[in-house]
């Protein structure tokens, strides 16, 4: 008997209870966890940059360009986990050339393109145009031409034109904030709109994704700012860390509150899916939800950040605490993506069974691939910081 159905018996060993055949294997693996994580970093980093520009928070100035370039580095990679997860990745571009309005993913392609072309690239271009013209004059050989191409051949740096760079950049930032909200809210919408899945289907999903995106993006920019200062052997300005830490603290409170409200709503309403979701979070998601996302990623960072709002003592201790908190927050947000993406596929729509997920190491859908896509943005960022160093920019003239 077993010899006739060897595959079936292997499958039955990793399911519990009653489950439909098409639910046994998870369609969305670790790469789909990485995708909202990376997109979130983009939106979060951009929103931090916008805070400096729109609300004129001068303390954050040293992080402004770093945040923009971080957002660009991650945005360039954001679609790659999705594309490499496809069975036919060579056809991925068809989503852009033959879009259908009923496809949430196809429209996402255009949301992404809008954000890349009209928001990020333009803002960085306006920001760096003056410096790039100067660099093109200074450099020799191939770099001269690289900067000349990047300026689109426009070498007008008269005060009037440069002041227009600032004005236009400001307009782009103002347009960019809602765009960043839409970009990441859309990622949440893609999950929240799947009405057959009670773990995903909530109108709060875009908002939850957005706030956790801001949390992770702010933490990532803080860590990159620390790393950049360390590598350039410059003294790390703890006032900048305090300013970022303050925003991180407030956004983390909002994120925690909204996710908490979502859970309270779930528990109080206790729809027919509640029993199975209760088993899910107390069982298969216990480690990643309560320990990793709740304790390590939210409660401890909240406590430490609250402490740092009052404690203005030893600078070295504060820097260390910010560093550790940043990493913990990133672990927490990654776990949140895991809990949503993997958690939502572990239970059966019959509400009386579970499957299990074992992540692979190699292969196009494996951990190594996910790590590669997570590390690539840092390589791109290193290149961008070399090409467009914020510390060598032409200083802005106060009007």
């Amino acid at each position: 008997m077993e010899s006739s159905y060897p595959h079936l018996y292997e499958i039955l060993s990793h399911i519990q209870g009653y489950i439909f055949p098409n639910e046994i294997d998870l369609q969305w693996g670790i790469l789909i966890v990485v995708y909202p994580f990376i997109t979130g970093l983009v939106a979060g980093a951009f929103i931090l940059a916008s805070l400096e520009r729109v609300f004129k928070d001068k303390v954050l100035k040293p992080t402004y360009q770093i945040a923009l370039l971080t957002a660009l580095s991650f945005l360039l990679v954001a679609t790659m986990p999705l594309i490499s997860h496809l069975a036919q990745p060579q056809r991925a571009y068809e989503i852009m050339i033959t879009p259908h309005s009923s496809s949430a993913m196809a429209i996402f392609g255009f949301v992404y393109l809008w954000y890349l072309m009209v928001v990020l690239l333009l803002e960085i271009w306006f920001d760096y145009r003056h410096s790039m013209v100067v660099w093109a004059e200074e450099k020799k050989g191939i770099m001269k031409w690289v900067y000349r191409i990047l300026t689109l051949g426009l070498n007008d740096i008269s005060p009037r034109t440069v002041s227009w760079d600032r004005k236009l950049g400001y307009i782009i930032t103002v347009v960019g904030i809602p765009s960043a909200f839409i970009l990441h809210g859309y990622v949440g919408f893609i999950f929240g709109s799947i009405k057959a899945n009670p773990w995903w289907s909530t109108p709060l999903m875009p908002i939850i994704f957005l706030f956790s995106a801001m949390v992770s993006g702010i933490a990532m920019v803080m860590l990159i700012y620390m790393a950049v200062s360390y590598i350039r052997t410059r003294t790390l300005d703890v006032n900048v860390l305090d300013a970022i830490g303050k925003y991180l603290f407030f956004v983390l409170i909002l994120d925690f509150t909204i996710e908490g409200l979502d859970q309270i709503h779930r528990i109080y309403v206790a729809e027919e899916s509640f029993e199975t979701i209760k088993l899910l979070v107390e069982g298969k998601l216990y480690l990643t939800l309560f320990i990793s996302q709740g304790l390590i990623g939210t409660l401890i960072p909240l406590g430490v950040l609250a402490f740092l709002q009052f404690y203005k003592g030893k600078i070295k201790l504060r820097k260390t605490l910010y560093f550790i908190t940043g990493i913990m927050v990133l672990i927490g947000v990654y776990s949140m993506r895991w809990n949503v993406v993997i958690g939502g596929q572990l239970f059966s729509k019959s509400f009386s069974g579970f499957t299990s997920f074992k992540v692979g190491l190699i292969g196009i859908d494996g951990t190594l691939m996910a790590i590669f896509w997570l590390l690539l943005p840092f390589g791109i960022l290193t290149f961008l910081l070399w090409l467009l160093p914020p510390w060598k920019m032409v200083p802005e003239v106060e009007e």
Partner: protein
Amino acid sequence: MKFYVPPQLKRLAIAFAVFIVLFLVLRKFLVPDSFGQYGHYRGDSLADNALPEIHYAGQQACLDCHQDIEDLKAKDVHARIHCETCHGPGQKHVLSGEASDILKPDSREFCGNCHGKNAAKKPGTIVQVQLSEHNTDKKCIECHNPHQPWEMKE
């Protein structure tokens, strides 16, 4: 009054125009020829999907030869279960006609896949049997005809 347009905007307008034209040109070449032939998809994908080897023959192919079994089944609780649910993929058998090309499962465990006691299944819909207690020395099909389970053999 002459309306002032910053030089950056003029340059960007050209860059965006080039991009849009490039996009449209590329689109012209990249859209598959058979796209839109039947609907909003690549028409040739139908032929692609027809390429994989067929394993399941479908209920009608079974009835072409085994109408007698269908008549038996129609009288009892297995009426709505298709032949290939238990006998497995049947295309090979349909083509060859050989009895050895189709499964005839007869073990207690096989019947237990549906009828074994399982707390997760809704009670009262499918008959649940405790395999470790119910006539443990016999195969299910020694008493029950799988095509007509309640027409007992003895």
